[in-house]
Amino acid sequence: MSGRRDAGGRDTTLAVVRGLGWFSVGLGLAELLAPHAFTRNFGLRGHERLIESYGARELAAGIGILASRDPTPWLWGRVAGDALDLGTLATGLAGHNRPRSRIGIALAAVAGVTLLDVLCSRAMGARRQRAKRLARRDYSDRRGMPRPAAQMRGAARDFEVPQDFRIPEPLRPWTNATQTGAPQTDAPQTGAT
């Protein structure tokens, strides 16, 4: 049973996140080792260096996701990278004699992965929030007074507020004026203590 401790939704999220990590590593290596294959297929000839730099980015994100304790920032890094990819692919569409259908398929694929990235980042973020809340302690035993507040209310009424800290009676909010009964008004005097 111990192997299934992380049952349910937790595991699927983690599995997808790791999958994205390996996908990053694979795509990164491919872009680094064979940039020509990409430029040729997507009408981006002459942009080999750009593809190589994208490869380095993918590789770093992949390693980050797989190796770090909290992959969330790396996942958001992937989302930003996806946006770049989409933009670059779209420039491929702009020219005349371009392999449009292939680019279209690639765009759709990247968009799909982007969605997956966003979903995973959000799921991981929410999980972190939850963990933080769980770690919060409960201090409802920290009263600081010997008896419950209801019984301590007014225990320091023996304290005399210094003259310079008093609010003149007639300037007090209306509730106070009537309840403590100081001002000379039409209201009946109540507290004759």
């Binding site: 009263r143 600081g144 007074m145 209310r153 304290f159 909010p173 403590t180």
Partner: protein
């Protein structure tokens, strides 16, 4: 000796520094047995209050044992156990004689600087910028106390450090916040911020007899501690503060409002707090007065706004017309610590209150730098940190 030293924004280190020595006849040197990190220190940590210099020693909540006294430091001797108020007071000037210790006219050795910044000088403070004297603070193994013959509170051996340490600042601060409200038996007191100052203010308001105390924050552990002290909690990240306060006061608003948050109020998703965040980042405004605005709006006419929360400079978009027309009284200030401490020490001795309830973390000096971050980010359910050097 070792001390927690300010090196810049978010950069506090535990350094080796020269031991303090007697410089003036009324000085004393104390060996620090306990000190604490205060919410006010966070404003320095975040560098939102000007006037700190690299190398300044932090800390203004300190207690210990007298090691050495100057020739004119009467009434204090080696071996005395003392709590040191965060405000340095001469005890002789006009303000001190009135009990307005935090605006002592003689203890700020950078008086001309403060005269320029504030119009008139205020008291010297420990470990709190060169505007208030640039005095080395007490998050250290030893502390030099200027005007020590008047700047101390003697405490009996029968009470522990943790029971009396907060007489240096947060307990009298929470108390003065409540006293400023001149609490009447029918009053509702609403308190923004459930940090250490807010917690002390809650208990003070209860002891002083407020009918209803309401506490506002968003950290669940702080709200749980507020509730333990007798307050009705409002989580400002989950519900509308104004609506809840009106509900709890039959639509009239609380008679007394306490701002125990200050200049670094957290941005809720309201328009004004986003405005503040932008302006503060662009350095067009120094403070984020979201709480002040909310208090002016919701307070019952003829009510009181009590502001122990620290502000640094220029505030923007304060609805002063609202405050004026509603006839609100506004009371503010650094705490006149010694004005209240005799009475509060007696209440601790009698067992009416034990301020140590607020302590959540106990550390040595070396762990100080990391703990500043933990406390600032409200991590690990941190509310109050006590350091034993």
């Amino acid at each position: 000796m070792r001390a927690l030293v300010w090196h810049g924004k978010h950069d506090i280190r535990c350094d080796s520094v020269p031991d303090p020595r007697i410089e003036q006849p009324r000085d004393a040197i104390i060996r620090v047995t306990s000190c604490a990190i205060c919410g006010s220190d966070l404003h320095l940590y975040d560098n939102v209050i000007p006037g700190m210099e690299r190398g300044d020693i932090m800390g203004h909540e300190t207690m210990g044992v007298v090691e050495e006294v100057g020739p004119e430091c009467h009434g204090l001797k080696r071996g005395d156990r003392v709590v040191i108020p965060f405000t340095i007071t001469c005890g002789e000037c006009e303000q001190c004689r009135r009990g307005n210790f935090s605006v002592c006219e003689r203890s700020n050795r950078n008086k001309s600087l403060a005269d320029k910044a504030f119009g008139h000088t205020t008291a010297g403070l420990f470990g709190y910028t060169h505007l208030t004297g640039g005095y080395p603070g007490g998050q250290a193994e030893y502390l030099r106390v200027p005007f020590a013959d008047r700047t101390h509170i003697k405490v009996p051996e029968s009470l522990t450090d943790e029971q009396v340490l907060f007489l240096s600042d947060i307990f009298p601060t929470g108390w003065q916040a409540a006293v400023q409200c001149d609490i009447q038996p029918e009053d509702t007191v609403a308190i923004w911020g459930c940090g250490p100052v807010g917690q002390m203010a809650i208990r003070s308001a209860v002891l002083l007899g407020a009918r209803q105390v309401i506490a506002i924050d968003r950290m669940p552990e702080r709200l749980s501690m507020a509730q333990a002290g007798g307050a009705i909690p409002i989580d400002f990240s989950a519900e509308s503060v104004v609506e809840r306060l009106n509900e709890l006061t039959h639509g009239k608003g609380p008679e007394k409002c306490i701002d125990a948050v200050g200049m670094e109020a957290h941005a809720t998703a309201t328009l004004d707090s986003i405005y503040d965040a932008v302006k503060q980042t662009a350095m067009l405004e120094t403070d984020r007065p979201h709480v002040l605005r909310e208090m002016m709006y919701v307070c019952r006419p003829a009510g009181v706004l009590s502001v122990p929360g620290v502000y640094g400079g220029v505030l923007d978009k304060i609805p002063f017309g609202m405050a004026m027309n509603k006839g609100l009284t506004i009371r503010t200030g650094q705490t006149h610590v010694q004005r209240w401490t005799d009475d509060l020490l007696r209440r601790i001795e009698q067992g009416q209150i034990d301020p140590s309830f607020v302590i959540t973390h106990r550390i040595g000096l070396e762990e100080g730098p990391g703990m500043y971050k933990t406390f600032r980010d409200k991590q690990d359910s941190c509310i109050k940190v006590v350091i034993r050097p």
